[in-house]
Point group: C3
């Protein structure tokens, strides 16, 4: 029953992608730079808003996160990255395209919070054994 199988698979896949983003962003916001970098493939690329070229590979990915997190910590600022409105498009049994929205919520010492940035994230995710990893991520920021 091909159709039923595919239908079930979509629900499972969608949940896996949501879980993947949750775990990935928890690591990012907790300052676990190496853990976050390990959610990309070995040659995975990340193109942040306005970057001239992508950041590539775990060492450079982790370095960027470590620096940004230290700056925020020094300023008493917490960031929370929310992915939502996920459009998940299977490509092969082991790769999917995702286009989703991404909010960054910033909170200052004392508890005042605001929307720091509204972004659109375009991902190519690939399955390695039983994990999803980012092969390529491009993020644009609204208004820039």
């Amino acid at each position: 029953m091909t159709l039923a199988t595919e239908t079930v698979a979509f629900g499972t896949l969608y949940a896996q992608v949501q879980q993947f983003y949750a775990e990935q962003m928890h690591m990012l916001d907790d300052g676990d730079a190496d853990g976050w970098a390990a959610t990309f493939t070995e040659d995975g690329t990340f193109t942040p808003p306005r970057a001239a070229q992508p950041v590539r590979g775990p060492a450079d990915l982790a370095a960027g996160v470590r620096r940004a997190h230290a700056e925020r910590a020094a300023g008493g600022v917490t960031h929370r990255h929310w992915h939502g409105m996920l459009a998940v498009t299977p490509r092969t049994a082991d790769s999917v395209d995702v286009r989703c929205y991404a909010l960054v919520i910033a909170s200052a010492a004392g508890g005042a919070s605001h929307v720091h940035a509204a972004c659109v994230c375009t991902d190519v995710l690939v399955r390695r054994e039983d994990r999803w990893l980012v092969a390529d991520r491009k993020v644009t920021r609204d208004g820039l």
Copy 2:
């Protein structure tokens, strides 16, 4: 095993509704007025906050989106519609009620973002072949 079947079906259904909203709101925010209007049934209705009566049918639905998107584009403003906190209640094999929250995040040229509106959306979705469509949508805005 009726129960197991139903349990599996709920996970699939929930993912389908999330995917539907993602695709629908991407079209809305990208200014694809006709694509967005085609996510309603032929006689589908949409009652926005404070509207005296619903907008009905693809032509009027698309016209409203086209106008609003052009106004925002002229002002350099980007809107992102987020649906979340979905309570999905199956009615028949081919229709579901959804009550969810809806945020509109606005970003100005330069990148400053804020919560433009917090809303509650009540939908009747119906299945046509392998797609979900909105048969009726009512949106209220908090504070109005």
Copy 3:
């Protein structure tokens, strides 16, 4: 096929947890204090940000919600609680750990909205017959 079964179950479970939070927060924000309190176990505990000790049991849980909702209503303020970025970790067939983000969006009379609080919520959920209930919830607020 253990793996396939587990994979399907995860998609179902993830959807159930999302639906549970949606229904629970709709009750909270609608001021249905008793309905909300009934989403905790009989001896369920809730530790809000900066609380010296947890609130325990339906009567005290409901009283806190009733009081807070009345204060907001008197001031013309609406709160919407958003859970997102759910990391769902099954513990047994009938209990899961969840770590997620929680936003509180506040809207004033007239319709102006803002991010009131950005929080992290850590839940232990347990299954009772065919419902999920909160056995323990701890919430921390960013910046505090």
